[in-house]
């Protein structure tokens, strides 16, 4: 794998994959249900390069969200390997230490979950700015820049200014989803995972988010997403992968 591209966005595009999933398996063992085993993923192999946007397709319960969660390291895999990142930053999540996984989330993989997990008492603006503020290491200029970047995103996503200082717990579904998207996109990362990012959005915001996804891809992100909305999928996906193909 090329090491010159690690951690950089834009510029020359990589010829190696930013995500390499090989023969991945995920089985949930429900110990409190008599040890029932739920084999959700089996034999999943997938390579995604920078500049690609892969849409995961398949019926409800097929394991689409589970696959994204495995790639983010939110769920642990039970089989196979899952290599994320390029060059020096590449790690196999199946064997990586907690510390490596935390570094991976900071430098390599962004994840927009289906629902926002609000943090009590933290304003919408700060929730969005937080990924950049973590990088600022207390540098006041960078903290200001982080807030600016958050404001720009909130404006673009049509979040009314009066809501910026309010914790999003009381926001509408669509507002929360836009906060979540802004938080996920504020810090460009080489790999982006999107779980139904437009499900609760109106037409205008859907178009905006579609444009933002395409911009991230054009800037060199490798994107894997779940897009139930056919129009959104058609306008962002460069490839569609059906979960049934893995079985």
């Amino acid at each position: 794998m090329s090491s010159t591209l690690s951690g950089t966005m834009g510029g020359a595009m990589s010829v190696t994959a930013a995500v390499q999933v090989r023969d991945l398996g995920k089985t949930f063992t429900l110990h409190n249900q008599g040890g029932a085993e739920l084999a959700v993923l089996h034999g999943v192999s997938l390579e995604v390069r920078r500049g690609e946007c892969v849409a995961l397709d398949g019926p409800s319960g097929a394991g689409k969200s589970t696959l994204l969660k495995c790639i983010y390291g939110n769920y642990r895999t039970t089989q196979g390997s899952l290599i994320v990142g390029e060059g020096e930053n590449a790690i196999d999540l199946a064997t990586a230490s907690a510390r490596q996984q935390m570094a991976m989330r900071r430098t390599t993989v962004g994840y927009v979950s289906q629902f926002l997990r609000a943090i009590p008492r933290v304003s919408a603006l700060d929730i969005v700015a937080e990924p950049l503020m973590e990088d600022a290491n207390g540098d006041p200029d960078k903290l200001v820049a982080a807030r600016r970047a958050a404001e720009t995103l909130l404006l673009r996503l049509r979040i009314p200014v009066r809501l910026w200082s309010v914790p999003p717990a009381t926001f509408s579904g669509g507002e929360q989803q836009r906060i979540n998207i802004a938080r996920g996109l504020i810090r460009p990362r080489p790999v982006l995972l999107l779980d139904e990012p437009t499900a609760s959005l109106d037409a205008d915001n859907r178009i905006t988010v579609t444009a933002m996804i395409n911009e991230a891809r054009e800037q060199g992100a490798a994107i894997i997403g779940i897009f139930h909305d056919q129009r959104v999928r058609d306008s962002v996906a460069t490839r569609v992968v059906n979960m049934a193909d893995f079985k």
Partner: protein, 260 residues
């Protein structure tokens, strides 16, 4: 190696027995600078005993605790002299008790409580001590004009803030906390959690937090460790352990609460 490449605390095979009961059984973990580790488990699982052994407040039967000092590299905490260990505990470490009365001196003013650790470091200038104390009171969102009052007159939430200020005034790099928010009203608890979250970020504090509240772990910790009968049964990134628990005990714990 730079500081970032080494754990600030390394606990190795700590064990502690009470009579014929093993309260802590061969527990090991690393903690990195700026990292928050939550230790969860039911009462009696050995969380506090582990915390006390790791923070040199309780002599373990076996095992080892290494700490990365500011200037002298890694020290084996239990091989330090008693005096050196106490100095460490009063300067580079903090310890926040569940009951603030255990961590405060109730017979002196709020300002004196905060200033005490500075005096232990040799600061004798009254004006400077008072100024620092004032700053820390405001940093923990307490009214500065209460500096001369005794903590005995404070509410539970204010006492806990004061205890935190008292610990942080020497700019420790590692803070041990035992159920820092339990025993407080829900709204007071939320504010205190917010404060702890902000301070650990801003001060790049490494912290071991014992809690039985999974929501507290979710909010504050990067990593978590689940204890049962003195042993660590599961550990990992906080969201991993909470969203995809592997061990039967962790699954039971997670499924017993509403949306941790």
């Amino acid at each position: 190696m730079s500081e970032q490449d080494q754990p600030i605390l390394r606990v190795e095979a700590l064990s502690k027995r009470y009579g014929d009961r093993l309260a802590v059984d061969q527990v090991s973990f690393d903690l990195w600078p700026g990292e928050v580790l939550a230790v969860v488990g039911e009462s009696g699982s050995g969380k506090t005993t582990l915390l006390n052994c790791a923070s040199a407040r309780l002599l373990p039967d076996s095992g080892r605790v290494d700490f990365l000092t500011r200037h002298e590299g890694v020290v084996d905490v239990y091989r330090l002299s008693e005096a050196a260990r106490r100095l460490l505990a009063r300067t580079d470490w903090g310890y926040v008790h569940q009951n603030p009365a255990d961590g405060l001196r109730m017979d002196v003013s709020a300002g004196a409580n905060v200033g005490e650790r500075l005096m232990a470091l040799g600061e004798r200038h009254y004006g400077r001590i008072r100024q620092e104390a004032t700053q820390w009171l405001s940093r923990v969102e307490m009214q500065e004009d209460r500096i001369d009052e005794s903590p005995a007159t404070f509410s539970g939430g204010m006492r806990q803030r004061l205890q935190i200020a008292r610990n942080l005034v020497t700019r420790p790099r590692l803070v041990f906390m035992d159920e820092p928010t339990s025993g407080l009203d829900v709204s007071v608890q939320a504010k205190l959690l917010d404060l702890l979250r902000t301070l650990t970020h801003q001060l790049h504090l490494a912290s071991v937090i014992v809690t039985h509240d999974l929501a507290v772990a979710r909010l504050l910790a990067h990593r978590m460790m689940v204890m049962k009968d003195g042993r660590v049964v599961e550990q990992g990134l906080t969201d991993q352990v909470l969203d995809d628990p592997q061990h039967p005990y962790t699954q039971l714990l997670v499924s017993s609460v509403l949306q941790p």
